[in-house]
């Protein structure tokens, strides 16, 4: 046999044949569909049922959406244009756009002010949300509350300036004394700021101009989606520090402080937000001095902040509890005192663990700002249910308005939760 190797044999290939493509059923879309849609008879049935559901939803909504009318003065006009065919009357959005966004009382010549504040908000939030940005941008973040207050409410510029001066003086005092003891620096700073605000309160009437550069807009004129945004941003940013304080208080070894925090947190978490808003609208006024009227917006901010602070405190408590005991002991063995241990070792780690929970609370809180429509504040839901649906022009345009409200909330809430997932991946320092 060995001598036959020299010449060619008919059934032995001398060169490799090119790879042939996989059978149609074992690769590409067909295989994917077999694996993911028609794996078993039951699965195929499920797929068909799901396809039918998708068809039902699309066939009901697509013509309505695509056939929408964007230019009309009233529902009657809309129907005339549509002439009986199915179609949305999105004209209500274009016509009532300012009302949906700014409410129906905000002076229309001043719409640029909230818009500027809104755009500034992105610049102010960027360095907090994305750490890679230059740290100098934090100056904008620090100035933003004062600038936004001045833009939205208008009036004399001296109110935010004096407020800012108070904060700066407080910070300087804090920075001077924090090396000695955190408590002295912290409370000294607060006291200094209070003193500055008290003194400037006397100066204010003398420097207030007759005709301020920006006309003053009272809080009750705020409305629309702007109100939801303002409540959401203000209350979330106020409730995070308060929540941290409550969580630390609940972990405290001092029984009195611990019990104050426990009772506060459990009380707030036990009642619905609506009852707290009732407190804000009908009850809180009784707790302020008789000669003083406190703005409804401020009362609502106080109650919503307390509400979300209690929930954030529970989230952060979970983060604190999740830290290994060794971290606390390590801080002690380094000779750090309580505030140093918390600021340098415990809180950075605990807050990192708590981020998803805090974001959940923030999303929930932002959705809950719609509840203020129940105590007759005209946020976006209040605007839709009140002035817009009650007007003779647009009586009966439910779906377009509700779709709009759904869309604006979905975009923001979904965006926040996507950001939180990105942040979790970014902050993950463990090995995978």
């Amino acid at each position: 046999m060995s001598d036959s190797q020299g010449h060619s044999v008919a059934f032995v290939r001398t060169e490799t044949i090119p790879q042939s493509a996989a059978p149609l059923t074992a690769a590409g879309p067909v295989k994917w569909m077999r694996d993911n849609l028609f794996a078993t008879p039951a699965n195929s049935l499920l797929t068909v049922a799901a396809l039918y559901v998708v068809y039902l939803i699309l066939s009901a909504t697509l013509p309505w959406l695509l056939n929408g009318v964007w230019n009309a003065g009233s529902l009657a006009e809309c129907r005339e244009i549509l002439q009986g065919t199915s179609g949305a009357c999105f004209a209500v959005l274009t016509e009532r756009w300012p009302q949906l966004i700014f409410g129906f009382k905000y002076p229309s010549t001043e719409y640029w002010r909230p818009v500027v504040a809104f755009l500034l908000m992105f610049v102010a939030m960027a360095p907090v949300l994305f750490f890679d940005l230059p740290r100098k941008l934090l100056i904008v973040t620090g100035l933003f509350p004062f600038v936004a207050f001045w833009l939205i409410w208008g009036g004399t510029i001296w109110v935010p300036i004096f407020a800012l001066v108070g904060v700066i003086v407080g910070y300087l005092v804090y920075a001077r004394f924090v090396a000695k003891s955190f408590a002295i620096g912290f409370f000294g700073g607060i006291a200094a700021a209070m003193v500055v605000w008290y003194i400037t309160g006397f100066i204010l009437p003398y420097v207030t101009p007759e005709e301020p550069f920006l006309t003053a807009v009272p809080s009750r004129d705020l409305g629309g989606y702007m109100l939801n945004m303002m409540l959401g941003v203000t209350c979330v940013s106020l409730s995070v520090p308060l929540g941290i304080a409550l969580a630390l208080g609940r972990q405290s070894s001092m029984p009195l402080i611990k019990w104050i925090c426990v009772i506060f947190i459990e009380f707030i978490r036990g009642v619905p937000l609506i009852t707290l808003l009732f407190v804000a609208s009908v009850m809180l006024a009784y707790f302020f001095p008789p000669d003083q009227t406190v703005d409804l917006f401020l009362r609502v901010v106080i109650m919503i902040t307390m509400f979300s602070a209690a929930y954030i405190a529970e989230v952060i408590r979970g983060g604190l509890a999740a830290l290994p005991k060794g971290q606390y002991e390590a801080a002690d063995s380094l000779g750090l005192d309580y505030s140093q241990a918390m600021r340098l070792i415990i809180l950075p780690q605990a807050l990192k663990i708590s981020i998803p929970g805090i974001v959940n609370v923030a999303v929930g809180l932002f959705k809950d700002t719609t509840l203020v429509s129940v105590i007759s504040m005209f946020d976006i839901v209040g605007m839709i249910r009140g002035p817009i649906l009650a007007s003779t022009d647009w009586n009966g345009v439910y779906w377009e308005l509700f779709l709009f409200a759904c869309a604006v909330f979905f975009v923001v809430c979904y965006g926040i939760s996507q950001y939180s997932q990105w942040l979790e991946r970014r902050l993950a320092t463990d090995h995978r």
């Binding site: 993911n36 009784y286 959705k367």
Partner: protein
């Protein structure tokens, strides 16, 4: 200084906190008293005894506009508990189905379920309640479409009517039970007692089956006997008590349907909206719970020779439930608290009666809001207590 001496620091700080707390409480109370004095008001709960003076359209107990404010509040409490109970059941059903299907290996179904969860979790529940309320009131036909000899729409199966005022369903009643034609609550108590009896009997049967399996290795089939235990007493009771159905009648009246049970549009809107909204959250909890059971558990069960359904019921589910149930209970708590949004669609729950109409009519803001908070606090403390008992019972018992 007291603050720098570790022996006294804690006491000093607490003393400072106590003084600050007392000062701020004193300030608030003195403001409250001054405000009340200025408006010539006092704190008193006498208004609870006076006639309420308003009607409630959906009540489970007897109530007229002459009943006291207290009774209106009780009606509200019962309505709150009713909608919370109904919504908890349906939300669990929706959530479990969506959560399990989201893990399905069918791509389309999994995507549809993620779509459902994301859409409903990211839009306020108040908007959902309003949308479903609008569907109920603006899209459903009026009751008149069902009326007359030749109605525009026939009753569904001759039994159900969906109108813009609510859904009409047949009402069961007993013709020959205690209390005769008038009927009595006792009849229903008998039925409930029978159901409890069946529950205990089936539990006994299961325990017996377990024992036989332990002794002999063969598990007796309990399916049919359990079905019989549930059904036979009910059928017998239905015959003895003379069960009959009061069907909505399109011919009795020219303006509205008569007979049957009317489930008002506000109740349906609230019930359904809370169910689908919370269902999306429960779906996430269910998915997380199932994914928390490691694959090794399933593989170990197969290695022991368990069939897939036994693996599910004996190995995966008990471990997944340990993860699922605590967040599930807090979702139930959320449903109860969110049911206070009833006020937006005019369902007479406790917030709408005590915190709404009674508050506005009597002007007793402080008393009403305090009672309202007390009610919700009691409910949530009760639910927390149940959760603690469960957590302790389910704690991993490590040796």
């Amino acid at each position: 200084m007291l603050l720098n001496d570790t022996r006294y620091r804690s006491l000093t700080l607490q003393a400072i906190a106590a003084i600050l707390l007392a000062l701020s409480l004193g300030y608030i109370v003195s403001n409250l008293l001054a405000n009340l004095a200025a408006q010539d008001l006092n704190i008193s709960f006498e208004f609870l005894g006076s006639p309420a003076g308003y009607d409630i359209n959906q009540t489970l107990i007897d109530y007229t506009s002459q009943s006291s404010n207290m009774r209106a509040a009780v009606v509200g409490i019962i309505n709150t508990l009713l909608v919370a109970f109904l919504a908890c059941i349906t939300a669990t059903v929706f959530g479990v189905i969506a959560g399990v299907l989201r893990l399905s290996n069918n791509w389309l179904v999994a995507k549809l379920m993620s779509f459902y969860v994301e859409i409903f979790r990211n839009i306020p529940v108040l908007i959902w309640i309003l949308i479903i309320y609008t569907i109920m009131t603006a899209v459903m036909p009026g009751a008149r479409s069902y009326l007359g000899d030749d109605p525009d729409i026939d009753l569904l199966g001759g039994l159900f009517a969906f109108t813009n005022r609510g859904v009409y369903i047949p009402a069961p009643f007993f013709t020959s039970g205690i209390g005769g034609e008038e009927g009595s609550v006792i009849n229903w108590l008998i039925v409930i007692a029978a159901l409890f009896g069946s529950l205990f009997a089936t539990r006994f049967m299961t325990a017996r089956a377990n024992k036989i399996q332990e002794d002999t290795g063969v598990r007796p089939n309990t399916l049919f006997i359990n079905l019989a235990i549930w059904l036979v007493p009910l059928v017998v009771l239905a015959f003895i008590l003379g069960l009959s159905w009061d069907i909505p009648d399109p011919l009795a009246n020219r303006f509205n349907l008569r007979g049957g049970i009317q489930i008002g549009a506000p109740l349906i809107a609230l019930w359904f909206a809370l169910s689908i909204y919370t269902g999306a959250f429960i779906a996430e909890n269910v998915r997380a719970g199932i994914q928390a059971v490691s694959k090794g558990q399933t593989e170990a069960a197969s290695a022991l020779g368990l069939r897939p359904n036994r693996t599910m019921s004996l190995v995966v589910l008990p471990q997944a439930l340990r993860v699922i149930i605590p967040p599930l209970i807090s979702q139930y708590l959320n449903i109860t608290k969110n049911s206070s949004l009833a006020i937006a669609v005019g369902y007479a729950d406790i917030t709408a009666t005590l915190g709404g109409i009674t508050l506005n009519q009597t002007g007793r803001a402080i008393e009403c809001v305090l009672l309202l908070m007390l009610f919700y606090l009691t409910i949530s403390l009760l639910i927390s207590a149940v959760m603690n008992v469960y957590n302790n019972a389910m704690k991993l018992k490590e040796r």
